[in-house]
Every structure is written in C-alpha cells, then in structure tokens.
Point group: C2
Chain length 326, copies 2
C-alpha cells in the first residue's frame, strides 16, 4: 500500500477524522474501542455499494453517503436495535478527487448528527475500477430483545410502516419515466429513492410487540418471503391494502396495473413485521406517538406459500411481476 | 440490487453461510449479534484490498483470503485484543466465477479454525471493476487494558517481534528479483509476503507490559514514527539490530546496503512496541514461552525526530530510502 499512503493518510485526516467519536481514537490507532454494557447485545450489519451499479456516477456524493449509512441503520432498526457507530472502508478511483470525498464526508456528518452516531474507523484505498463503498454499522439491543425474521406465527397480522413503491418510482423518474406528473410528486419520489428514512425510532419500540421483522430492501413480497421461509409459515397480502404515497397514488390512478408491481418493489427501507392481533392497539398507539403510518396489509397462515390477492380475493400471479422465490 | 440477487443469495448460502458462527444467525437475518461481557471492551478494525493493487489477479484465492483476515487480526493484536468475529463485504466482477469464491471461502475457513473466530455477516455485490474485499474484525480486551500508540515515554526500549523486511523481499522475488537465492529462502520470503503471521497470542500478553504498540504494516520506521508522533517523543533505531531472517541475511550478505531499506519495509505484520527497561525480563520470558523472537532495536528519547543509526553511530538519512514523515 506504500505508493498511495500519503494521499490516503491525508484523506483520512482531513475528511474522516473529524467524524470520529471517542471510541474511534481519532482514527490514529490500529483499531477502535466499543464499550460493552452488561445486559446488552451489540448488533452488527454491513452493506457495500458500487458506483454505476447501486448509484449513479453523477449522484450527489452527500446523498450517496447518506443512503449508504441509512440502509445500514435500517438493518439495525429491523432487528429492534438502536444505532451507535459505523466503520467505513472506501475504494476510490484517483479521478474522483478531494471535492467528491469532501462532499461524501459532509453527507456522513449531517446524518451522524441526525441519528446520534459516530465513525469508529475503517480504511481508504485506491482502485482502478469504480468506487466501492462498504459500511459496517453497530447498534445495541437489550439482551434477548432483538427482533428476528423467524418469529412469525399463524394468525399474526402483517404490517408495514410508511408507504411502499416510492423508491421504485423515484428511480423510474430519474430514468425519464412519468414526465407528466406534478413537480412535488417527482421530487418526493426521487427523494425517497435517494435518501430513505430508516425507522430507527420505530424499530426498537416494536421489540416485545412484533413477532418477526425485516426491512423492505429486496422488495415487499420478497422480504415477506424471507420471513415466511425462516418462520416456516405462509402469508397472504391484499394488494389494495399496500400503502401508497399521494405521489404513487397519482401514478396508480393513471396506471392501475402498477399496484401489483409496487407490492414487489424494494429499496423503501420501511419496516415489515408480523404481530399478533391483540397487539393492534399498542401498534396504533406507536403510530400516533411517532407520527409514522403503520398499515396491516395481510396475515400469516399455515403453509409455505405467499399469495397476493386482488380486491375480489383472486390471486395475482406474483411470479410474473417481479417476485422470485429464493 | 434486484438484478443480481439470485446470484448473490446463492453465493452467500453456498460459500459464506457455512462460515457463520452462532451470532451470525446463519446469515439469514438483517444483522448479527455480539454478546457483551461486562468489564470488556470490543475492539474493531477494518481493511480493504483491491485486486491488482493489493494483490495480484493470479494470486491463489485461499491466500488472498487468509492475508486479508490476518492483516486485520494483526491490527487487533496491536491493540492487545483477542479476535472473536469478522464481517466481510465483497464486490466481485462476474467473470470471477464460483471456483474463485469457493477457494476464497476455503481460505477463510482454514484460518477461522486456526484463530478460533467466525463470520458474523456482511454483503456480497457485483462490480464492473476489479474485486474489492473489505473485512471488519472484532476482538475484545479487558476494559482499560488496550495498548495504544500514544503511550511511549522517554527511556523506553523499542522492541520488534519476529523478523523485518521478509514481505518486502518476498514481493521482490515474485516480481523476478534474486533468481540466484536458495529455493527454501525464496519460498520462505514469498510465504511471509503472502500469508503473514499475526501475533494474536503475543499482543494480548503485552498488555500491562508494553507502553505503546503498533503492527508493522506501513514500514518499520514509518510505524515507529506513528508511535512517536502520537506519544510526542523521539526514537533512535540501530540499523544493525533490526532482526533479519536467515533468508534476508543471505540477501543482505551480498547486498549490504539493503539493510537500511529493510528497516523501512512494511507488510511484515510484526508487533513493534516500546516498554520500560525494567520490563525486559518479563518480555524475554514471553519470548521463550511463545517461541517468538523479540528484539530490542532502539530507544525512545525526548524530542520528535526519528533516527536510524549505522554501526558507528552515524545517522543514515532515512528520507532517501523510503521513509516519509506524515
């Protein structure tokens, strides 16, 4: 690594060291420290993104940073964990230059303050290919209180936070679709794609309420399938109950068939969970308290299938609209 | 990420899930769990490597994996921490194929067993560029017992484990240098470059003995400079005391000037530490107990300079031989 050291040292010192928390030791040591608290478990997750694959080269670097961070915070929330720290490794092409890195670090800084977390450490190397950004997030949960995918049982209701399909539509708009829709809808949907809202407050509060939880990253139905598979249950989702934003509704009004497609859309980073019917009052109270929409979209049943139903109870063949069984 | 999911899911399931420990939850959840023990701190470090930059495309994948893991374990050892878990994110070009990944995972599996650690989780994505492999390692140390870079004080002796310069020579040999040296020396030096030996046992045992510690990755003098800078002290190293392997000695016998160069070589992943003179007996006892060579190569002084001395006490101008002050 000798031939790139000066640049990398300087990069870390200028842009990343100011983001380090006390455990990061100023990014001046071989490793970072995380204090352990008795009765808590640490929760760890990681995601990597690649320029040109997971984001566009021309995307604002601040937003790339914030999405990378938020995607990981969403994974922590889906376990019922509160976020603490993150570790970042970047492999960047030399062409990228310090301005890109400065703006990327600025985006991290903004979201650090927003979510009350700090940088522990990482690595910064050069690559001859597209940028690869890898982030490991660390959170905590009271011991035994983590929410897993495998806890759904027959009779549970299936809930989802916020609205579904916005990120999918936002990406389509960025690619030139729906030129006719209103400017505020365009902005809203693009924003949902670029800067998701991880449910960091809701997630931990569902511990002890929900039976199983996951975040919507692969797609609403695909992620529900992960719950079903791990919990060894079946699920039924009513397409018309899948909550859509005003912007998505405006599009669905002109293109009704898109409703089923939106039920398979991913990247919304909403929380998808199952909970027993008698938890409904508590869940509605949480919804009011946090100002977060929480909607029942279906139920858990015996079996292993996942069904999407139309308004008349007919089965919509999800195999044909983007859902694949793993 | 939808268009590559099937491949990535399958890749994780086949190759990486078998490496997961209990906290990894079978790599089937959004995040992994790490139990906290009161009175301990977790220690976290990360390194990223890029194909064609940090390793050669034709390098055996098992060895690439083992080096990536070991480099991180060395960072933990340098903090006095014992290793527990690791998190891996890979960005791989599609051309790489399952055989490369299978062999890479096999290398991880071998070293997991060797060092008593397991995989917690991670991510696996595709890239249009060279492979980027990013690993975060987690270890633990008794609270307050971590070894930092900033603890060196005037009067300390400077120690290094093992031998220095082997990895540098190994890389030179891989690039065609020293065709004349004996086969067993060639193999030894190449092995030191490809599969370093992190001092995972020694590191934690130096807690309470050493004042400051770092591992030799950037270069012996560059890493000592990190200690000096953080500790606000100066250091003197006697070039003739820098321990060389039999293989390196064979090369130095024909090319005496290389000794000074070897003192600036990196990538050996030996431990470099300062300790008070009255710790010498304890350090020698550790050396015997573990069968690890430990050598005093200099001393810590007042000031901020780093000097390399020749046999007559003359200053070797290190600026000219690869050492750069940060």
């Amino acid at each position: 690594m000798a031939d790139e050291e000066l640049g990398e040292f300087e990069r870390i010192r200028r842009f990343f060291a100011p983001l380090a928390g006390p455990g990061g030791l100023g990014l001046l040591d071989d490793a970072a420290l995380v204090e352990c608290t008795a009765g808590q478990s640490l929760v760890v997750t990681a995601d990597a993104i690649v320029a040109g694959v997971h984001y566009l080269l021309e995307d604002p670097p601040e937003l790339v940073a914030r999405k990378l961070l938020r995607v990981n915070l969403s994974d922590l929330a889906a376990m019922g964990a509160r976020p603490l720290h993150y570790i970042l490794t970047t492999a960047l092409p030399v062409e990228l230059g310090p301005e890109w890195v400065a703006r990327f670090a600025q985006g991290l800084g903004e979201d650090q303050r927003r979510f009350g977390i700090d940088l522990l450490g990482g690595d910064s190397v050069g690559t001859t290919g597209p940028a690869v950004l890898s982030l490991t997030a660390i959170g905590y949960v009271a011991e035994g209180k983590e929410l897993r995918r495998g806890g759904a049982i027959t009779g549970d209701l299936v809930w989802v936070s916020g609205t579904v399909g916005d990120a999918y539509l936002g990406l389509k708009i960025l690619r030139g679709a729906y030129p006719e829709i209103a400017a505020q809808h365009r902005e809203y949907l693009i924003g949902r794609f670029r800067v998701p809202e991880p449910r960091t407050q809701l997630g931990p509060m569902l511990s002890g309420v929900a039976h199983a939880m996951i975040d919507v990253s692969d797609g609403l139905l695909a992620d529900l399938a992960h719950i079903c598979e791990t919990s060894r249950v079946a699920a039924v989702v009513e397409a018309d109950r899948v909550p859509l934003s005003a912007a998505a509704q405006a599009i669905a009004a002109r293109e009704p068939d898109i409703r089923a497609r939106l039920a398979t859309a991913g990247d919304d980073y909403e929380l998808l969970f199952s909970a027993p019917p008698d938890a409904t009052t508590a869940i509605k109270a949480l919804s009011s308290q946090l100002g977060v929409q929480l909607t029942t979209i279906g139920r858990i049943e015996d079996g292993s299938d996942l069904s999407l139903l139309d308004a008349d109870g007919g089965i919509i063949p999800v195999e044909n609209i983007g859902y694949r069984h793993f």
